[in-house]
């Protein structure tokens, strides 16, 4: 996976599987301190401390169709490759928080890539989970929140072509705007 947005898509699948109703994805670019932070916070059923200690092990998985689980370990590797650090906290019945910090200018810090594609797939999940996306560049903030969008749409589905296109360009333009002003 050569884009951070692909890792985000992968990690959020775990939140969806954990029966979350809201997933928050928060990206913070702090150029002054040369940090790039991605936090993924859900309110799913969480993990006990034993599961939590095993989760970054590629030979740990909850699934039964195969014996390996690479999602979390690949994300951790991507972040450690870029001089960063990775943390995962979880509480049973409260939720899980995955946080990875990269050295922003590090040559191995992968680009974010097409985050609008990731989000438009995430909102099509079967369980109608709300997605909150926040992107901050040196204090300037862009927010995309499906709670707000659903209110405006008033029952029109996310699968409507014009809605899909609006969502994608809203996210893309929003991020471009906060990055431009640098």
């Amino acid at each position: 996976m050569n884009e951070l947005s692909l890792h985000i898509l992968d990690i959020v699948q775990n939140s969806i599987k954990a029966n979350s109703t809201l997933v928050k994805i928060i990206i913070n670019e702090d150029h002054q301190n040369d940090l790039y932070t991605i936090s993924i916070i859900d309110n799913g059923y969480g993990m006990d401390s034993k599961t939590l200690s095993e989760v970054a092990d590629p030979f740990f998985t909850t699934r039964t169709t195969r014996k390996v689980g690479m999602g979390v370990s690949l994300f951790k590797m991507a972040c450690e490759m870029a001089d960063g650090f990775f943390s995962i906290e979880s509480e049973v019945n409260v939720g899980t928080k995955v946080c990875s910090t990269f050295k922003n200018s590090h040559i191995d810090r992968a680009p974010l890539g097409d985050i609008e594609d990731t989000i438009s797939i995430l909102i099509l999940n079967d369980k109608n989970i709300d997605i909150y996306y926040e992107h901050v560049v040196n204090g300037k903030k862009f927010v995309f929140d499906t709670v707000e969008i659903k209110q405006v749409l008033d029952g029109i589905p996310f699968t409507n072509y014009d809605v899909i296109m609006w969502i994608k360009s809203n996210i893309k333009d929003g991020i471009d705007t906060i990055q431009e002003e640098e």
Binding site: L9, S120, I121, V152, N170
Partner: protein, 121 residues
């Protein structure tokens, strides 16, 4: 920058049209979206399905991201469910999506070049 007002206009336009959206009696497209699928390129594949199906107004077809069925080496895997019929496609790319929609979803004939039997029997 796209504003919420633009979105309101889209909603109003959509409300004008009489919604013929079938419940779950239509076709379902399942795209494997686990680590293996994503690494093999499932995201652009799913995006293509979503966009093309919306563009062609195939209102009774739903596209859903799903997990992994354990055949990671032949991802991206796409399954088309219609009633009791299940067609499994593997090593799907964006060009294959075009054919699957035109020939299978709209035309009713599975695209033999990508069905799983070509790789696993």
């Amino acid at each position: 920058m796209k504003s919420l007002d633009d979105l309101k206009k889209i909603r109003e336009a959509a409300q004008q049209k009489v919604s013929m959206r079938g419940t779950n009696n239509g076709m379902r497209v399942l795209v494997g979206m686990a680590t293996c699928g994503i690494s093999a390129g499932a995201r652009p594949v799913m995006n293509k399905f979503v966009e093309e199906i919306a563009k062609r107004s195939l209102d009774n077809v739903t596209v859903t991201p799903v997990g992994c069925i354990g055949e990671c080496a032949i991802e991206p895997i796409v399954e088309i469910l219609e009633g009791d019929n299940r067609t499994t496609y593997c090593k799907v790319d964006v060009e294959a999506v075009e054919r699957i929609i035109t020939e299978h979803i709209q035309g009713g004939k599975p695209v033999k070049d990508y069905v799983i039997g070509k790789y696993r029997l």
